[in-house]
Subunit: 351 residues, 2 copies
């Protein structure tokens, strides 16, 4: 198969981890006889510095004209520290998600048996955790009207959801549950929010067409507690953009390091693959960033294009790196292996 | 001192836990020579059933005309399960907070040394945790305009904050930090939300009048991770209504049981004291609910009225119950003590 892949390295540790993913894709190319081309584009703080915009037009065009996008991470503290910053690097990512129509962010959270000691939670709690979060990605308070009123110094954000926006991701979530443990948990705040009440109505009505899947509903505050106390109760979690942002980062702790978790963002025409973690500017350039989240995002990319054997081979190579303890310092504390070394090991073990 | 106290037991386990708090206040009365009168009012699902409204006028009047309100918990599943429910029991609480002008919800999270085994997190992580969350309680998306548009089946919630709303709670948070570890962490989502950007500007500018207090800012998704990985890094956490709801429930896990944590909600004229936990209908009437969160809310009430010695005496009695293992089944697993027995023990040990 031939794939044109847009590569947006972004800021901080983005370029380093993406470089390892490309190594892995090169290895898949060779081993399985595919051909991938990689085309780089600017995004985030690096794009602001070079072009003044966090998402240059060329980058958007690149992503639209390729088969998939491989994304690193973004954000630099020089922007965070300026409360008046008009252009946050993050705006580039938000605009890209919207323009590519990426409405579902899929974030699997799995505990790797060989890394179970790594989890800050007790073994019994996390042992059987294998859940996937379906986070709505192109609606809600992220994209609603925003305003600032100088007269009384007040600011407003608006959260809107339409039935259509809720439906499309709900179907994805239920279809996924069908091939898993047949359980969907809707996380919302229906006792307070009108949008949550619409989510409940729409999701409950759609659930009737999936009689083999059980639906239950949890308030976000309770879900945040359950995610720590008993994460293995979950199968598919379905939630809105903001709650999904919080819950999935929180869920990442279960696995033991945010440096382990991949994600796929999909729409009708485009798809993007990125680690859950941020740009960790403090770690940038030090060859200590964990490349596994980005490499597992490559596995999700391969699966997206039905290259299941190839995807499994990438996951197997990652698991081998765990069992051989070829891991970056965030894992198992005492490891001395760098980003590059781990990337090479995994790429060389894709077979 | 004489205090008139409104008592809103609410739903589920509310009546049971509040009954123990009243015992403790009776004991404080005797031991320290105060006089308290208790006046009951209806709220929540019980109020809906009896009056059709989750907050009858008489209840609001009662709370306005007393010195403080002791609150239980609310919500019953019969309402949660109906997605079309027009009246959620929770609306009563939200309206009450607003009408009483309770703009700051103060939620301390402390790990009790005798219960450290109880925490699902590792000992080293939680050992020194002693933080307090200042959650804005009468603004934000909880109280913004809500609408439902039948034409396209869409729903909207609005989140608005004014500088004035942010200022008043910010000053409370910084004053509290002054008498503690001198650190305030603002939790927001300033890379996405206009309201968060206003929070940052206002809080950063107010922080200049507290040069002895350090301010730092965290995005909510990162804060949810840090709360699990390293909660002892926090002193005072300042945040908006929705983020505070999620983060404080999540924080409650650190202590080992949501049945342990109290809260105070304060405004310029009124104050209300309530456990963080919900109504747990499944546990209602079984004499198994943990009364400690409600009893520690009484300690916060006493402190609010400068009865510091009395407040300390209540806390000491609670600690004694822990060290004697006179605790409900949620604590230490194997305990056989009921709500009433634990309440009696604590009340009898206030001295
Ligand atoms: C960078 C930021 C805008 C983004 C988000 O909030 O969506 C990130 O936290 C994520 O989860 O991908
Ligand atoms: C009952 C509910 C409306 C309430 C809230 O969200 O504020 C509760 O979760 C709380 O934290 O006091």
């Amino acid at each position: 198969m031939h794939l044109d892949i847009a590569v947006l390295e972004g800021d901080g540790i983005g370029p380093e981890v993406v470089a390892q993913s490309i190594k892995c894709l090169r290895s898949v190319e060779e081993t399985f006889g595919h051909s991938f081309t990689f085309k780089k584009g600017l995004i985030g703080a690096s794009a602001i510095k070079q072009t003044g915009s966090p998402l240059p037009k060329e980058t958007l065009k690149l992503c639209k004209n390729t088969d998939a996008t491989l994304f690193g991470s973004l954000g630099l503290p020089e922007f965070d520290d300026d409360p008046k910053a008009k252009v946050w690097p993050e705006q580039g990512l938000l605009k890209l998600r919207k323009k590519l129509g990426l409405f579902a962010n899929i974030r699997p959270v799995k505990v790797f048996p060989s890394l179970i000691k790594q989890s800050p939670l007790s073994k019994t709690q996390v042992k059987h955790t294998d859940l996937v979060i379906f986070r709505e990605l192109s609606g809600g308070i992220y994209y609603g009207e925003k305003s600032f009123n100088q007269d009384n110094n007040s600011a407003t954000d608006t959260c809107t959801y339409t039935e259509a926006e809720i439906s499309r991701i709900t179907h994805l979530a239920f279809k996924s549950a069908r091939s898993r443990k047949k359980k969907v948990t809707l996380v919302d705040k229906a006792n307070v929010l009108e949008t949550s009440r619409l989510w409940r109505r729409v999701v409950q009505s759609i659930s009737e067409s999936y009689p083999d899947v059980t639906l239950n509903c949890l308030f976000i505050d309770n879900a945040a507690v359950q995610m720590i106390l008993n994460p293995s109760q979950f199968d598919v979690i379905l939630t809105d953009n903001m709650f999904g942002d919080i819950l999935s980062d929180q869920g990442s702790v279960i696995a033991g390091s945010i440096g382990l978790l991949p994600s796929a963002s999909v729409g009708l025409e485009h798809a993007m693959f990125e680690p859950i973690h941020g740009s960790y500017p403090d770690a940038a350039g030090k060859n200590i960033a964990n490349p596994v989240a980005s490499i597992l995002s490559v596995a999700m990319l391969l699966q997206h294009f039905k290259m299941n054997e190839e995807s499994d081979a990438v996951v197997a190579a990652v698991l081998k790196s765990f069992s051989k303890k070829i891991v970056t310092p965030d894992i198992l504390g005492s490891s001395k292996y760098g980003t590059n070394y781990v990337g090479d090991f995994i790429a060389n073990n894709i077979m």
